[in-house]
């Protein structure tokens, strides 16, 4: 009897990352979002490089700055996760090592995300 499954059903879960074009699409989406966010970030660093503690605390407590910083971190960290995932899938030959590195990759971006978000929230609320 012939296979009743559609070609899409047979292809699903078969890629190196067990997913389809989602990775490609999200990488482009975050790449596009990163452009204005990174330009903002570079502008921020140019403006406030070497500024005093009090001045930096004041600027980072500005709600607009906090929100843009958080958006930038979200987009950048997700983009990082996707990029490193691709590198791991390209070079890690053994399945066990690949899974371990993929787990470390996800853990790394989550830790950075939570630490930086906590710091930004603390500064925003004047802690």
């Amino acid at each position: 009897m012939s296979d009743m499954r559609t070609p899409l059903k047979r292809a699903r879960g078969m890629g190196a990352a067990k997913e389809g074009t989602g990775h490609f699409w999200h990488q482009r989406l975050t790449a596009l979002a990163n452009i204005p966010l990174v330009i903002f970030f570079v502008g921020f660093v140019i403006t406030y490089n070497g500024a005093s503690y009090e001045e930096i605390r004041g600027v980072l407590a500005n709600p607009v700055i906090t929100v843009i910083m958080m958006l930038a971190l979200l987009s950048i960290l997700y983009h990082m996760k996707l990029g490193m995932q691709m590198i791991i899938e390209d070079y890690a030959e053994k399945e066990g090592m690949k899974v371990l590195l993929l787990l470390l990759n996800i853990s790394f971006v989550f830790i950075l995300g939570v630490v930086s978000f906590f710091a930004l929230v603390k500064i925003a609320f004047g802690g």
């Binding site: 910083m69 990029g83 930004l120 500064i123």
Partner: protein, 135 residues
């Protein structure tokens, strides 16, 4: 039926060192390296913002380390990696639309991206020093 014993003798594609290094290939490699460097380089930002949240002492310490000659050298490299990766990414976004894929055009874009990234990095640092009030 196919013989599974011959599976190990299948031809492999040549590795990197077999090919002549061309600009698009070099920029592709640099794009991946800068991406990897930025992946770990963002820790510098997270440490900085965490120090700002922690205390004045922590912030001043991080500022002093980042402001040292070595700190500035690393940050200069970080700036270049960031800008080069962004310009390389822009090339990819252009290619995604099906444009500029011709050999001559893509080679020109590859050469331009390294020149533009270096110029932009220097300009960013000049702007940074100018804002601070001189060199």
């Amino acid at each position: 039926m196919s013989k599974t014993t011959s599976i190990h003798a299948r031809p492999l594609s040549p590795h990197l060192q077999i090919y002549r290094l061309i600009p698009t290939m070099l920029m592709s490699i640099i794009h991946r390296i800068t991406g990897g460097a930025l992946y770990f380089g963002i820790v510098l930002f997270v440490v900085w913002v965490a120090a700002a949240a922690a205390s004045k002492e922590a912030f001043d310490l991080v500022n002093a380390v980042y402001g040292s000659w070595f700190g500035r050298l690393v940050l200069f490299g970080f700036t270049w990696a960031l800008l080069h990766h962004m310009i390389g990414g822009l090339r990819h976004l252009v290619w995604d639309t099906g444009r500029a894929l011709e050999k001559a055009t893509s080679t020109k874009m590859a050469k331009a991206s390294i020149v533009i990234s270096v110029i932009l990095t220097v300009l960013v640092w000049i702007a940074g020093y100018a804002v601070r009030g001189g060199f």
